[in-house]
């Protein structure tokens, strides 16, 4: 939710990275088809068995399939191959594609209750039916809701990150380059912005602004700006002492040229690599607001308000898929962003590379 969370994800794995590990033994490769078979059996063959056994089969299938895939990939591309990071990347591409393509897909109604009156409410997920991920208590399709939710989440969080990146980046670079009174003033500003408990601040702002995708992106960018100010300032400090900046100054560049032509291209890359981690945090923040009922409101499905609509009383006890399906999608997206962000930061943050 805040600085500390980014910081510790950013701690990374400094120590045993140099060590060459053995690839996973190839005899584990048959686990891949076995796992897929188990998922297959769990999702479609045993339709009459209780839900618990099917869920267990799917979970075991996923674990076994992952081990098998890992063995195959490490055999093919060497022991350094990071299967989970690649899978995370694929998941992000999938989420991105579904956010872009959802409006052209022939999905059952997932927004307006009046168009879903003929649908059976509370259908369990069944991958080979008209509602692959089931329906909610009003008969709205959950797969469609999840995909529309992906679009809302991505628009809001990526928009907020972009605003934060530009504003925070410019402020941070300027402060880190000029130092002095400007720097300490910016530091105080960033400190005061970080002083507010993030969720409380967002909730308070939700009362001020009409909530839609664009205002929410603006509000959430307030969480990203102080972090980006600190990041870009710290990176600027390391770059401003380098020889190429000195050379540019010696050749008579003015400050604006040094900032935009020398510092900005160097600082931009590590900042963009942090964008994954910050996007993950903002997705959670957006979902939390929608969950509390002060974000995007129901006819427009989001992960947060889908979870909220399924979490009360008997619905939750007897039909948990209304909470778990959007919940798992959100968890996987956040996990994938953290995983990919960790890799990106390791690769592109110069402060990390020096260690």
């Amino acid at each position: 939710m805040s600085e500390a969370a980014f910081g510790t994800i950013a701690q990374g794995e400094p120590e045993i990275r140099g060590r060459v590990s053995e690839p996973r033994p190839i005899w584990q490769a048959p686990l891949l088809p076995l796992g897929i078979a188990s998922i297959f059996v769990g999702t479609m063959v045993l339709n009459d068995v209780t839900a618990e056994i099917r869920v267990l089969l799917v979970l075991v299938g996923i674990a076994a399939g992952y081990l098998g895939l890992d063995a195959v990939c490490q055999r093919r591309w060497g022991a350094g191959f990071d299967t989970s990071a690649w899978l995370s990347g694929f998941w992000l591409v999938l989420i991105g594609l579904s956010a872009i393509l959802v409006q052209w897909l022939p999905l059952p109604e997932s927004k307006l209750v009046k168009n879903a009156l003929r649908e059976t409410p509370r259908l369990r997920p069944d991958l080979f039916s008209g509602h692959p991920l089931g329906t909610n208590d009003q008969g709205l399709d959950i797969l469609g809701g999840v995909m529309w939710g992906a679009r809302t989440s991505l628009i809001i969080s990526l928009g907020a990150v972009a605003i934060g990146l530009v504003i925070g980046g410019i402020i941070g670079i300027t402060a880190g380059y000029f130092r002095g009174a400007l720097d300490s003033g910016v530091g105080i500003l960033a400190d005061s912005m970080l002083a507010f408990p993030p969720l409380i601040l967002l909730v308070a702002m939700a009362t001020v602004f009409e909530q839609n995708q664009w205002t929410m992106a603006l509000e959430l960018s307030l969480l990203g700006i102080p972090t980006y100010i600190r990041l870009s300032r710290a990176n600027t400090l390391t770059f401003a002492q380098r020889e190429f900046v000195l050379a540019a100054k010696a050749m008579g560049s003015d400050n604006r040229r040094v900032i935009f032509r020398e510092l900005m291209p160097n600082v931009a890359l590590p900042m963009v690599s942090y964008a994954f981690l910050i996007t993950a945090v903002l997705i959670v923040a957006e979902a939390s607001l929608s969950f509390l009922g002060v974000g995007i409101k129901p006819p427009e499905p989001t992960w947060g308000n889908m979870i909220e609509s399924g979490q009360d009383g008997f619905n939750f006890r007897d039909h948990p898929h209304m909470v778990f399906v959007p919940g798992i999608v959100m968890f996987m997206t956040v996990f994938a962003l953290n995983r990919v962000g960790d890799k990106a930061r390791e690769r592109w943050d110069p402060r990390e590379a020096q260690i």
Partner: protein, 375 residues
Amino acid sequence: MLRVIGSKLIRLVPVLFLVSLATFFLVDLIPGDPAANLLGAEGDIDDLEAIRKSLGLHKPITERYGDWLSGAVTGDLGDSLRPPHQPVSDLLQSRAGPTLRLSAMALGMSFSISLFLGVWSAHAAGNRADRMVSGTMFAFISVPTFLAGLVFIFFFVFRESVPRWIWVILVGLVVLRLLYLTVSRWWEDRRDLSGWAGYAVAALVVAGLLFWVFVQWPDFPRTASHRYDDNWREQLRSLFLPALALALSEIAVFTRLLRADMLSTLQEQFVLSSRAKGMPTWRILFRDALRPSSFSLITIAGITLGRLIGGTVIIESIFGLEGLGKLIVAHGVIPKDYTVVQGGVLVLAVGYVLLNAIIDISYQYLDPRIRRGRV
């Protein structure tokens, strides 16, 4: 030393000023006239003027900010606008208890769990166990708190046999491992009592714990009520799930931090000499290496406490806890009672700033490099 502390304190003043300014003007932006809002649709136009006067809304905004700030400094945050018109400071005081207890419990849980996980995975760095712990911790960081709360409600309240058997399986595996170690050490050299007896005792203790928890498994309530204020057992039981949900991501953060610090400590010469002297592993880990590695953990634990106090709003509303966050949302934001919002946000933000400053200053005392310099 004093100069460092002094400069940090001086830096606090503008931060606190900006925080108060932002709090006041943010709430002032709420669309609509607070007085009209308060009066409702059926009010009289004359009453409107009276209410505006009594709230001081006829004064210019700078003057109102001055009044509010001077009140806030003396602990008077005004009265809530909705009936019953209580002083906001009283409201905040009465709601601080559950939030503080919840945050402290979450902090304690994450601290104690991550202590063992961090030390153990640093000891077993690179092993399969360590990789499993690291992977799990990565997953924990990615679980949003409210989702964790709902998952715990589902499994601990609606499907209570699932966590019970997960407990049996996980701890049972630990017992089996300890038994295996006992037998294999005993097989190696049965006269060397110190070799295997420790493992045997540990296996017995863990098995006892496994059995005791399984038998005593409590019914966790869906909503954590504060009715049991006097009964600490009831309170522990009702706060367990919300605290665990809050602790989940902190466990991951602490474990990763402790593991990284511990790994670098274990490379040090004094650990090598301890090993060479033949000290038992647990003693090296917990007596020698833990203390120098726990420094950044303690720092971040303090920051976390501040963050938790402000961040419990969603957990409070899931579990129906009457805490500070819920007060601000349910009594301030939703009915647009702006004195409650102003007071609550100000208290939380100022508390967070002060806590951070205290940690920052105590850092000066705790840092072993500075301490060494003084001796």
